[in-house]
Homo-oligomer: 224 residues x 2
């Protein structure tokens, strides 16, 4: 169970999620199972780049299944948690304030996983990438520009345009420094943006919403 809408860019703080299991866990144990699942799900989504003050993910385990714990079953729980958290996180973005298009951003070929995450996060929060998505425009230039301005270690992430390749919905639009001229039709409610930096083996994924008239309307008309 999860709710979200706006102020979604969790670093865990208005997102609420509760996962329940009848698997037997001791008090204090759930966090060790939950944290890795949260790191690649709820902590990798962005609606508007705004952090909330009270995001929370809770795992409740009552042991009612009565199953015997084994290392293998613990691993199955961890895997199931990652799936459930991933599915809930995706629904939060799809249901975000003003969302019309879900962006599935995957960055590969980074120097490290952390640097890939920084690049993916910058693309996920770029107003120009998000308005292009609202306009169904496979605008690789905005993806490259966002990647090149990703904050990293007090400076910027490592990028080299001549090594970068960008695909929209699986179609290559920019390959190692050169546009291919392809203009894939982005008519769906989800768009996959794959960026290969061509530098190393670091990778990260991020889910984001587009930036639409309705996001502006909801947040300009609403007052507290």
């Amino acid at each position: 169970m999860a709710k979200g809408a706006g102020m979604i860019h969790p670093q865990l703080a208005t997102m609420l999620a509760v996962v329940t299991t009848d698997y037997p866990l001791e008090a204090g144990e759930p966090i060790a199972f939950l944290r890795p699942a949260v790191d690649t799900s709820f902590n990798r989504i962005s609606v508007d780049g705004e952090c909330s003050t009270n995001d929370a993910v809770v795992l409740l385990a009552n042991g009612a299944s009565g199953v015997e714990r084994t290392a293998e079953r613990d691993a199955e729980l961890a895997s199931a948690l990652a799936q459930v958290c991933g599915a809930l996180a995706r629904e939060i973005v799809a249901d975000g304030e003003g969302t019309t298009v879900l962006l599935e951003i995957a960055v590969t070929g980074a120097v490290s996983d952390d640097e890939a995450a920084a690049v993916a996060r910058r693309i996920a929060t770029s107003p120009l990438v998000k308005t292009a998505a609202f306009g169904h425009d496979p605008n690789w230039g905005r993806v490259l520009a966002a990647a090149g301005s990703a904050p990293w270690n007090g400076g910027f992430a490592h990028v080299d345009p001549d090594r970068m390749t960008v695909c929209f919905d699986g179609t290559e639009v920019f390959v190692r420094g050169e546009p291919t001229g392809a203009t894939p039709d982005l008519g769906g409610t989800a768009v996959a943006i794959d960026l290969d930096l061509g530098l190393g083996s670091g990778s990260a994924a991020y889910l984001a919403s587009d930036l639409s008239y309705d996001y502006v309307r909801l947040n300009a008309e609403y007052t507290t």
Copy 2:
């Protein structure tokens, strides 16, 4: 002379500005006069938080005035440059893509000037602050939330809600932890947001645009 529109969040890289003077400067000298003026003008504006690839500010000096240089006249040039750059930077934001309201953000009482700038920058780029401005809403909560999530030194800027005071157009709406209940009418084309952090003597100013339907339209319809 200056042009801008979108992709305005200069760290000096589509903003172009040229300042001319007939004051006598030697080759290589203009940068020393220009840099301090740029730091507090062109580098303190944001339309959409997007950096461009080719912002440039140029100072051309031909010495045609034939005046004798003195330390006092050099200081006058520096002061005039700061004024001219400040006025041009303000025009760029007012003329930004979709701008309907100019936000004049002033942060005082920070631990340091640099930390004040980080807080001001976060407020200037917050979608929630910018949509509230489009809705003419004196939403102090969004200002506080933005300040509290300002990235600083790998963590977040120092803030304490009980020491923070927020004014919209000079009216106190939140004083040291408590809302005043005042709801100033923000009907104009400019809004002053003053945030006193109450922690130290650091200060910084920033100019920003609101986030409007037209910003979304311009950047969703435009394709490259």
